[in-house]
Symmetry: C2
Amino acid sequence: MTSTEIAAMAVHKVVPPPPRSTASKMKARVKETFFPDDPFRQFKGQPRRTQWLMAVKYLFPILDWVPSYSFSLFKSDFGISYAKLASLPPIIGLYSSFVPPMVYAVLGSSRDLAVGPVSIASLVMGSMLREAVSPSAEPLLFLQLAFSSTFFAGLVQASLGILRLGFIIDFLSKATLVGFMAGAAIIVSLQQLKALLGIVHFTTEMGLVPVMASVFHHTQEWSWQTILMGVCFLVLLLTARHVSMRWPKLFWVSACAPLASVIISTLLVFLFKAQNHGISIIGQLKCGLNRPSWDKLLFDSTYLGLTMKTGLITGILSLTEGIAVGRTFASLKDYQVDGNKEMMAIGLMNVVGSCTSCYVTTGAFSRSAVNHNAGCKTAMSNVVMALTVMVTLLFLMPLFVYTPNVVLGAIIIVAVIGLIDVPAVYQIWKMDKVDFLVCVCAFAGVIFISVQEGLAIAVGLSVFRVLLQITRPKMIIQGKIKGTDIYRDLHQYKEAQRVPGILILAIEAPINFTNSNYLNERIKRWIEEENSMQNKQTELHFIILDLSAVPAIDTSGIAFLIDIKKSIEKRGLELVLVNPTGEVMEKIQRANEAQNHFRSDCLYLTTGEAVASLSALAKMTTP
Amino acid sequence: MTSTEIAAMAVHKVVPPPPRSTASKMKARVKETFFPDDPFRQFKGQPRRTQWLMAVKYLFPILDWVPSYSFSLFKSDFGISYAKLASLPPIIGLYSSFVPPMVYAVLGSSRDLAVGPVSIASLVMGSMLREAVSPSAEPLLFLQLAFSSTFFAGLVQASLGILRLGFIIDFLSKATLVGFMAGAAIIVSLQQLKALLGIVHFTTEMGLVPVMASVFHHTQEWSWQTILMGVCFLVLLLTARHVSMRWPKLFWVSACAPLASVIISTLLVFLFKAQNHGISIIGQLKCGLNRPSWDKLLFDSTYLGLTMKTGLITGILSLTEGIAVGRTFASLKDYQVDGNKEMMAIGLMNVVGSCTSCYVTTGAFSRSAVNHNAGCKTAMSNVVMALTVMVTLLFLMPLFVYTPNVVLGAIIIVAVIGLIDVPAVYQIWKMDKVDFLVCVCAFAGVIFISVQEGLAIAVGLSVFRVLLQITRPKMIIQGKIKGTDIYRDLHQYKEAQRVPGILILAIEAPINFTNSNYLNERIKRWIEEENSMQNKQTELHFIILDLSAVPAIDTSGIAFLIDIKKSIEKRGLELVLVNPTGEVMEKIQRANEAQNHFRSDCLYLTTGEAVASLSALAKMTTP
């Protein structure tokens, strides 16, 4: 074979992408990172007048659908119960079901999202604030902290939307959420034991161990009347839930069950004067709409850290829930939800809420499911719900006097039981053991340590895992698949065979500071092993590094490539690079400017061409 | 074209790797993550007796070289100066140059590493401890905290080695270190202004702004005698450094310059009684070897958090320096340093040090360079150095009485000036603008905020960047390179052309919870764009997802693949996957067990085969 033939073999040169300025590259990268949805593309090529109209509609989606709204079913999963989870007065829960839905109806882009207080955010807010302030000893301060945290939660949410940092919520993986939700559901249910057993002196802690200890230390406080009533309504609600799950058309059964339970139990207590027989009741609630609360926002430096932290965590958590619910229903009905706009809507809703006696709210799955099943097509359902709450607040409050706490407890338990998703856990176990570990850690952390720490552990673990994949990237030895020019993983494809005298390694990760030391040492060790294995048959002459799967490289990565080339050459071998992608090729070129480390004869477009030309070279030099 | 021909075209099936049990997969993964260097491979296939001998030698590398040690030059870069950086009594610096080198000589595996106190770790320890305790008001407590921090630093270092978590130090990227070192060098130099100008009332803060303010608020304290002496010795030392850098053979000039300066200046002060003319001197130091200090270790809960945090940060920092120095010289002489063993050695050295009145020590670049240039071949040089320090401690201490502080300041400045690596910064700027940003942030953070926070910001930024690469992975549209069967980036290769009716997308990152939402929305938008572009000529029929560069996938990723397949099919298109690698193929198979989402006719080994068979299919269906 002549050298012209060899040259003809490798006709395909590796080229860098066309040069672009740093500014234009930065712009493209920033655009892809923060504006991946290209929110303004619909504006392109429209006349100015239409652009203005579209901009107004973009900001206030209500204008899009208000002409065609349809009334929807009244969903009466009152916020009262969730407010108790946050250790707040029940009335705050009702307030929070009035103002935020109105705000969301104007700003939100999801058609199915029903807005209100949710269990997880309530639980987390309550448990975080209680660490600093006791809600029974200092109720006003506690309320102020709750409103301030809500304010910060809204601020965080709106900022994430405005700064297009929505990807932050993607860091809560499905495995984390499944474990976290299940743990939170158990913690929430345990808290209801107070109402369900009629215990008066209940622990203020949330963990499984202290709660169970408290329950069994106060057996003398257990009230059989309360327990009886609780069990009855629990069975009623669970049956209703079961019916609706079995026959989806009967969704209204479980939708109406909470309201029905409240009415029935209130009547029962009223008729039998059960409050005198050990059954605790809500008691007097004041009539009237939300009072302004901006004067209750506390920016005092003593509690600023606490409220900001609580706001951050509950904000991100409730955002995650709201966006996930919005996405779920959007994909069911095949429309798109604009994540960043949603964040701004939810954020603004909470900022407004914090000034009108509301605490953190978001889109709730259970309410939204009811809306969806009821066939409502626009966010108008939120307005309808708000109006019903308004009527309640104005006129029906006295009726709640006799509502027994035990029924609210039963309603919460049934609501949160749906958060324990056993099939999903099984699916995760089957698919991915590390994800399962993350899930279990989130669950155990929430139950045994604390809600926030469980979440932190799970998020930390999943991020650590992603980093570990980069830090210890996969490298595979490739071989040629018999009868083809295709090179694939030797381990995966039995038909693949080693090419004598050539070691083909593929790196499957960006090369950067976290892995350049590892790659360096690993490749050297591979060459050693290969040498001790191959020298019986043929000597090792060439190392081919397949960079097809290396999307990016940094300065440490380039230093690694130069270093490994030098030490391979010290051993009398030759290093060849295959298919560096755009960015990698650019940086290699830039490194070449200083010193010509990688001449074009050690760059090939495909492994096939590299092997063909190297084999020919080997034949020429060893006659 | 008949269907048999089409079938013949795609003869190469995508197969998963041979099945392995979860346990064996876990084992392999753990091995690759924590034992990438396979430390026990040399033991394989050896007789039991040899294995024992090798194990003993593995633990005590001193046995490997002690029979052939060679004496080396005495390097007298006394720890006195660095101890002052840490706000510790000068004698502690000498103590720290005695015990740790002895310990390292027994346990360490690098032949060139010279051990002792270093500037960065001294600076960080000093600045962290000073935030809580004043070294002048409570000297004993400060000393106790320093020893306890050293103890924890050693513990952290040894644990990282034992738990094989050495990759932690890889998270300090080169860009971070360059910026951090330069910032620290400036902070350290600024601190020397106290000695250099003879100021008595100097600020205890470290930032650029407060130090400069303090310098110019105390102009009346400036002492011309001190300044004159300082400038003279600064010039002397800088000249010596320059000579050694210009003519590497004269390395001993800069190696001897500090000792010479100390001797000359001490003599000068002694002869001219300069201490009476405004030149401050070290004063009386007690003779005698290190006293035990285990009784000074403080595990009191008041300061436990502080000492653990200080230990963690100084431990990791000094480890990074030591390992980097070890690796540099190992690669110069072409031997391997066992990172995890080094960590254990350095860690144990610090634990022992903390019990013998030493503070944090590690391998220092400047000393090691002198050792290397002096041609010493074994860690015996550490023993020699320790012995010299011992002689000093036992007999020469009274000689230091008249050593002027200004000379120590000049020695430190010249030592740390080498840490400002301008060419490296320029290189980073040229290679990678984000790395440059990290570098600048580290530098500015250290100078203007604080040493720890500057470091934290830089590490956070570089990790965030790595995460961002995963969260917003690169996707490229591929086209066929004219006249070949090779498919490459349309943007990078001008010769590549779109295949009509087919959109070929390559994903270049692991698919996981951080990016599955993004990928989902991005692909949908791409299809929309493609449709609005292509429909003039040919209709879009197929989407090919090239998974060659997807090394791993998690449960969210699999959910994404299933979801995108469904929504692509809803639009009347077809999705085809190309070349899923081992792990991805396994998980696809496992997802298929539940429901056959990805039949074998939508999996191809190469893009070429997929395109050929899809084009044929399209021709058959549209006559």
